[in-house]
Each structure stands twice: as C-alpha cells, then as structure tokens.
C-alpha cells in the first residue's frame, strides 16, 4: 500500500528542496505558538511589543505562570474539561454503539426511516439547538452552570452512530450467527463479539469525541459561569478578560492550557491520525 521513493544520489537536491518546503509550512503552523511560549517567559523588562520585535526573552522568568496559576483555577479548568470529555466519551460510546448495531446488522420495521431521520439531523447547527437548549437546561433539567449540561446533550451524536455503523457492517455475519446459535442474547453478542471486533473504530470514535468535547466553546460558554465550574476553553476566555492588560500572563495561560493536550497528542499520535482519517471510508 505504501510506496517508497528510492533515495538515489541525484535526488539529494530534491530532498533538500522538500525539507525546505516542509520547514516553511511548519514555520507557518507553529510560529504563533513559538511566539506565545517565548512571550510567556518574558519578565516585565522584556518588551513584548516592540519595533523591531524581540523574540527571545533576556531575563526569562516563571513569574507569569505563577501569577496566572494563583489567580485562576487552571487546575480546576483542567479537571472539569477532563471530567466532561471523559464522561462524554464513555457514555457516548455506549449509546452510539448500541444504536449502530441494529442499524448495521438487523432488519426491523422502520429501519430506513430512522436511518434517514438520523442522517437529516446531522446538519442541524448546534447554535440553533442552543436556544431551546438553554431553556431546557434552565427550566427542565435544572443543570444550568453545571457540567452535566455539557455531558447530557452529547450523549448520542449522529456522526458517531454512522461511523460505528460503517464499522459494524464490516464484521462478518457468521460471527454473529455463531453467537446466536450458542444462545447468546443480542446484548451479549454486542458486548462479546461486535465491540471487540471493531476496536480501532471505537478508538476513532473515542478520540474524535474527546477532542470535540475538549475544544467545545460555544455551548459551555452559555452554560458555565461560576469560575470553578468552567472548562478549559471557557476558562481561557475568562483568562483573557482578566489579564487584558497583561500579555505575558495571557501567554502563560495559553501555554498552560495547550501543552497538556499537545503532550497527549504526541503520545497517542498514531491513534489520533488513524482515528481521524479512518473516519473517511469511501
């Protein structure tokens, strides 16, 4: 599947050219972070905005990080984001994989209708549902300003149902029939046979869901207002508001909130990539 370009000597120049292009593109994608990182270490005497701009601080200091950490519950922001994303992933996986099973493998009246209905809801913008969603959160579910408000609406996402349906369809029917012959209930078949067979797809769904929840801002910003309950993205905006006159502080805050997820990404790189690209099966 993967083809290799033999590295012949006359291609050395071409290789160098490719590296230059790659580095240029990397510079474009990475430069803002580099600048933010350097800014976050600048002391009060290192100009943040100057002409010409100074990238590297002369007296690097951790003071900005300390200041931000002291004044904002960054740790709490993390914990909240982790709880929301984690709970969402677990619950979502369960519900969507349960739902995908009949859609992929069973025949029953109304299957087509349900399938197309779900398909149709895919295009509904979250901002549209946010208006009644707000009213529901306040009047019906009473989880305003509570992280439950972030978890509940994400319990079943149509995207994930489709992904898992695709995955389930690749599982041979014989495997399932074998289970049925052995007298297993459909639930057992789902748990013992179906799910283990599609582990990569489950990882895909888990990662997509996790990243989406982690980076979600719009709905959390409507729901969460007490500082201690905020998730990271909402907290970041609060940080920016709080430190408006303090560019170094903002930079430190941004670095603190981005680095952990980056570390996670580096560690799980393969799964991330496989997950996100596996989403597109022709």
């Amino acid at each position: 599947m993967r083809r290799a370009h033999p590295a012949a000597p006359r291609r050395a120049l071409e290789t160098v050219a490719w590296y230059i292009i790659l580095c240029l593109v990397a510079a474009v994608t990475v430069f803002p972070f580099v600048w933010v990182v350097f800014t976050s270490f600048k002391g009060p005497n290192d100009a943040v905005f100057s002409v010409p701009p100074q990238l590297i601080p002369r007296n690097p200091t951790f003071a900005n990080y300390v200041r931000v950490w002291d004044q904002l519950p960054i740790g709490r922001f993390f914990a909240n984001s982790l709880m929301v994303a984690g709970a969402t992933v677990v619950l979502n996986l369960v519900f969507t994989s349960l739902a995908a099973y009949p859609l992929a493998k069973m025949r029953f009246p109304g299957r087509e209708v349900i399938f197309y209905l779900l398909l149709a809801t895919f295009i509904v913008p979250p901002q549209l549902t946010s208006i009644p969603g707000f009213v529901l959160a306040v009047n019906v579910f009473h989880y305003y300003d509570n992280i439950l408000a972030l978890i509940f609406p994400s319990l079943a996402t149509v995207f994930n149902i489709f992904l898992l349906r695709q995955a389930f369809r690749t599982v041979p029917d014989d495997l399932l029939d074998a289970g049925r012959i052995d007298g297993a209930s459909e639930l057992r078949i789902w748990w013992d046979i179906l799910l283990p067979s599609v582990r990569p797809a489950l990882a895909t769904v888990a990662i997509i869901t996790f990243v989406n929840q982690w980076n979600d801002f719009y709905w959390p910003s409507l729901m969460l207002h007490t500082r201690d309950r905020m998730t990271l993205q909402v907290g970041l905006v609060a940080l920016q508001g709080m430190f408006a006159s303090d560019t170094r502080g903002i930079a430190a805050g941004v670095v603190m909130t981005v680095v952990p997820i980056l570390v996670l990404f580096v560690v799980l790189q393969r799964q991330f990539v496989r997950g996100l690209t596996g989403a597109v099966k022709g």
Binding site: R2, R3, W18, L22, V25, A26, V28, T29, V30, P32, F33, W35, V36, T39, F49, S50, V51, P52, T96, L98, A99, M106, F108, R111, I123, V124, P125, Q127, L128, T129, I131, P132, G133, F134, V135, P153, L155, A156, V158, E186, W190, N215, Y218, L222, Q233, V237, Q240, I250, A251, V254, T257, I261, F265, Q269, V273, L276, T277, V280, K281, G282
Partner: protein
C-alpha cells in the same frame, strides 16, 4: 431468515434516539415555534405571527450576516486545494516526516480559542505583525488589523483555514495512501510527469475524501463562531464586518435577549445548511459518476 418481531432493535436504538429526540428534534420544533413569538427567555413567549420574518426581510444587518456566511464558504475550496497539496507534499518517505505531520497538526489540537487568543495578541495594533512589518519598513504606520472593517472577515477566514490545514491534510493523506500503486505505474507508463500523475490519478482517487471534506468544512464554515468571537472580542467587528448568521443568532438570543427573532434567524440558517449539504453531495456524486 424469518424472525418474529423483536423489541431488541428498538431497545438498542432507544437511548440514542431519545437523546436525539430531546436534544435535536425537540429543539427544532421549539425553534420553529419560537420564531413566531416574541420571547425574551425571562418572560413567556408571546405569539406575534410572521412579524419576526417580516422584520428579518427589512433587517440590513441580517442580510449582511447572510452575505458574510456565504463568503465564509470560500474557505472550503481553499482548504481542499491547500490540503491536497500539503498531503501530496508530506506523502513521501523522508526521515522525520512523521514529526512534520505532527507539527502541522498542532493547531487542530490546540483548539480555536487558544489559537484565536494568540492571533489576537499578534494582530494587535501594537502587536507582533505590525512590529515585524514596521521594522522591515513595509508599512510606515501600524495597521489596525482588528479594527479595520474590511479585514475582519478575511482574518477570521484565514484563521479557520489555518486551523483546518492539519486536519484535512491528514484525511487526504490517508486517501492518497489508499490509492493503489498500479494506477501510478500505469500513468507513468503512459508518459505522465509528476503533476499529471496527480491530476489523473490522485485527484480522482481522492473523490470520497473531497466529498467528505467539502461537506464537513462547509458545515463548519456556516457554523463558525469561535474565531469571530475571539477576534472581535464578542462584538462582531466594526460595522458588523465579522457578523455571520450564527454570530447574529447568538447576539440576538443571548446579548439582546430576542430569542424569538433569533429563532427566525436560526431557521434561515437551517434551510441554507440543508441546501448546501444537498448541493455538495449531489455535485460530487454526479462528478463521481461522470469521472468513472
């Protein structure tokens, strides 16, 4: 195989369908209802018939927002073009290529808020960009990037593109790697050079990915909010230069407390989104039929 009627499929589908019903279907119905009312969320809705829609027609800011949303859709073809290019570039066995791919992916992981804040700092009137331009003497006076109406939307779109580069690149990359080697060999034998190879083999082979990216990124473009919120500090830009349909919806519902009016806007958004999705899929399907 005849099976007697079983409740199982419905039980399995139950929780998910319940979730969809409560959090998607009910809201659609509610929004349709609200759009015929005057509703401030604090006080109960008051039926006013078509007044919201009539006001919408005469609302110049609404039309402005609509136009901005349509303009924003331009990010989709730009992203498709750039990311296919990028995927082709990174699709080679060079040492360290995985590191580069990871680097291109960083904006995606960091999230639009963190990135938006960083951009906002850099684009400040006394920020980094002006600092660089001034010291290179490209400009003689700082440009107020974030306060110039003409620049607001392009900057937001640039941010969206920048954020999406790594993500869509990976998708196209996977697609490229799925294209059988034989097709390339056949093209080479037919006398194709590098660019023709990509034109005649890679592009058609990427059709499923192109469809996927087209649908997903145009949906994201129509629903864009975070970039505009961060870059304009929640204000939508001078002269509403950054106001898209979604931003207008949010402002009407949650800043001005006109949830009924906002619902009318939301319905328009829904119709447009639907139209675009259908167009996208039809266009690309037809292309697929024509191509094979």
């Amino acid at each position: 195989m005849t099976k007697r009627f079983s409740l199982t499929p419905y039980l399995f589908l139950g929780p998910a369908l319940l979730g969809v019903a409560v959090f998607v279907l009910y809201p659609i119905a509610a929004v349709i209802y609200y759009s015929f009312t005057d509703y401030s969320i604090i006080t109960p809705p008051v039926w006013i018939g078509l007044k919201n829609f009539q006001a919408l027609v005469n609302d110049s800011i609404f039309w402005q927002a609509l136009w901005h949303s349509l303009v924003y859709l331009l990010v989709t073809p730009i992203l498709i073009f750039l990311c296919i290019l990028l995927a082709i570039v990174v699709d080679r066995q060079l040492p360290g290529i995985y590191a580069f791919r990871a680097l291109y992916y960083i904006p995606v992981i960091s999230g639009s808020i963190a990135v938006g804040i960083a951009w906002r700092l850099m684009l400040d009137t006394n920020g980094l960009l002006n600092g660089i331009l001034l010291s290179l003497e490209v400009i003689s006076e700082p440009i107020q990037w974030l306060a110039e109406p003409a620049y607001t939307l392009p900057i937001a779109m640039l941010l969206t593109i920048w954020l999406g580069l790594g993500y869509y690149m990976m998708i196209f990359l996977a697609g490229l790697q799925n294209i059988p080697e034989e097709l390339y060999d056949a093209a080479v034998m037919d006398g194709c050079n590098a660019w023709q190879k990509h034109w005649y083999v890679s592009l058609p082979g990427l059709r499923p990915q192109v469809t996927f990216v087209a649908v997903i990124s145009s949906l994201a473009a129509l629903q864009v909010f975070n970039e505009i919120y961060i870059l304009t500090g929640g204000l939508g830009g001078i002269l509403n230069s950054g106001v898209t349909i979604v931003f207008y919806l949010w402002r009407q519902a949650f800043r001005l407390q006109h949830a009924g009016y906002a619902s009318a806007v939301a319905l328009v958004l829904l119709v447009i989104t639907l139209a675009f999705s259908i167009v996208n899929i039809r266009l690309l399907e037809r292309g697929a039929e024509a191509g094979t």
